[in-house]
Symmetry: C2
Subunit: 242 residues, 2 copies
DNA sequence: TCAAAAGTGTTTAAAGTACACCCATGA
DNA sequence: TCATGGGTGTACTTTAAACACTTTTGA
């Protein structure tokens, strides 16, 4: 077993792929968007990168991902899960291990958090939101990372209720279906979709209705007895005693 | 964004949960076993730990996992996948990020590799194999890690052909079923199991038969057109250009 | 009253489960 | 010849998919 290597020159960074839904107009279906940060120094100066930063010695990985995301964008996601640890030798000129997280956020929470962030005096002029289908030139291996995050999301939506991470506490079945359709990139039958989610026991009907145009739709909320996503024997917070 | 932290005092380690099947006798069904290393120094002196070591600055993560596993046990797995990056502050007295991999190996390959390892002059006296159902006192958070690896294996066996990682190139359907039963911890109907794997298109029948007792069983081999496990948009080797 | 989305019912296909039964071999 | 696992057939249950149909609202 190698006890000493050049491990002193290896640095640990964290990044986050933070996804939310944005609806351009009332008519069309929503798209998945994420915030990127324009790099202000080499390497990859001018390219766009995932929000992140260096891991601090006094904090856990998930903690660091939350902190750096909040520092650069002002966002605090409702769902955060580790994606992968990237550590290819040539992924950066300085040897860097990036532990990447992926996060989901309801669009109304994004608006509120960004407003609060600006009100607190921050002007994130190097942060911009992009549709995942139309990404700018990306720094490092971040394009690969984003595609992997989207793959995980598409995968996980099939066997857990992660899609709810995109929605506010109360929502209609059409809004939930819109989220699924944006994730899976295909249309779902409204009738069958209704029956499936009703049978899954993850939803609780409320007495309230969304009264836009046409027939009012019942509002539902999460059944908090059901986990947002199955993470197996790992606790939601990894900072628990071994 | 925090540009400088105490990142110099953070070290990166790699470990591997290496699983194989061991059949105690011809009669009973096989069990999942893994190699552990007895710690010869503090912390956790005398406890058992996953094989691993420090990440070298010149190697990728997967590369380091293979190297340290080979150095401590002489094993070279047929399947290797990243499990998780563990980084809780209190998981070790010195701040350590452990990038853990999980690996599968056919039992006949284990025997061959260990024989070759001993023939090359190595005497791994601190390495011992344990059934996953009967683990000794483990160092750090390694018990949690092993249970997570087993959960991933059980999960993945449902939608990919990872179970083949336990088997030699040619095998009978009963041997494949034994692997599934050991992983899932429940009996499977032989008739339905046969039809399911035949329909999946992952197996190619050979002209050879296993002629033990009773009626000879046809030998099958992998259809190499099908991936061993779905890893999404990530290449099998993470060391590819961004 | 009409367009459009909410919500219900029904039919068909596919996939999974249970289990009876025949086949081929070594002892 | 018989016990045993290899291998096939079939009926039944559950799940998913397709789509016709009714209900309720705003304009």
């Amino acid at each position: 077993m190698t006890k000493t290597g050049n491990e002193d020159s290896i640095r640990v960074a964290v990044s986050a792929v933070t996804l939310t839904l944005r609806r351009e107009s009332e008519e069309e279906s929503p798209h998945i968007v994420l915030p990127l940060v324009r790099r202000t120094r080499e390497p990859h100066l001018g390219d766009w990168a995932l929000p992140g930063g260096w891991l601090d010695a006094q904090e856990g990985l998930e903690e660091a991902a939350s902190r750096t995301l909040a520092e650069t964008t002002g966002l605090a996601p409702s769902y955060l899960e580790q994606l992968y640890a990237f550590g290819a030798v040539d992924r950066s000129p300085t040897r860097t291990i990036s532990v990447v997280y992926w996060a989901l956020l309801p669009s109304d929470a994004v608006d509120r958090q960004i407003a609060a962030y600006r009100a607190a005096g921050h002007a994130p002029e190097n942060v911009q939101w992009f549709e995942v289908a139309d990404l700018p030139p990306l720094a490092f291996d971040h394009a690969q990372i984003i595609h992997y995050a989207l793959w995980r999301l598409r995968n996980k939506v099939g066997y857990s209720r992660v899609a709810h991470g995109f929605l506010p506490p109360e929502f209609t079945l059409a809004e939930l279906r819109d989220a699924y359709e944006a994730i899976l990139q295909r249309r779902l039958d409204p009738a069958n979709f209704r029956r499936q989610v009703e049978a899954s026991g993850t939803l609780i009907p409320t007495d309230r209705f969304r009264t836009g145009s046409h027939r009012p739709a019942r509002l539902y909320r999460y059944n908090t007895d059901v986990e947002l996503a199955d993470r197996g024997p790992l606790a939601p917070e990894e900072t628990r005693t071994p």
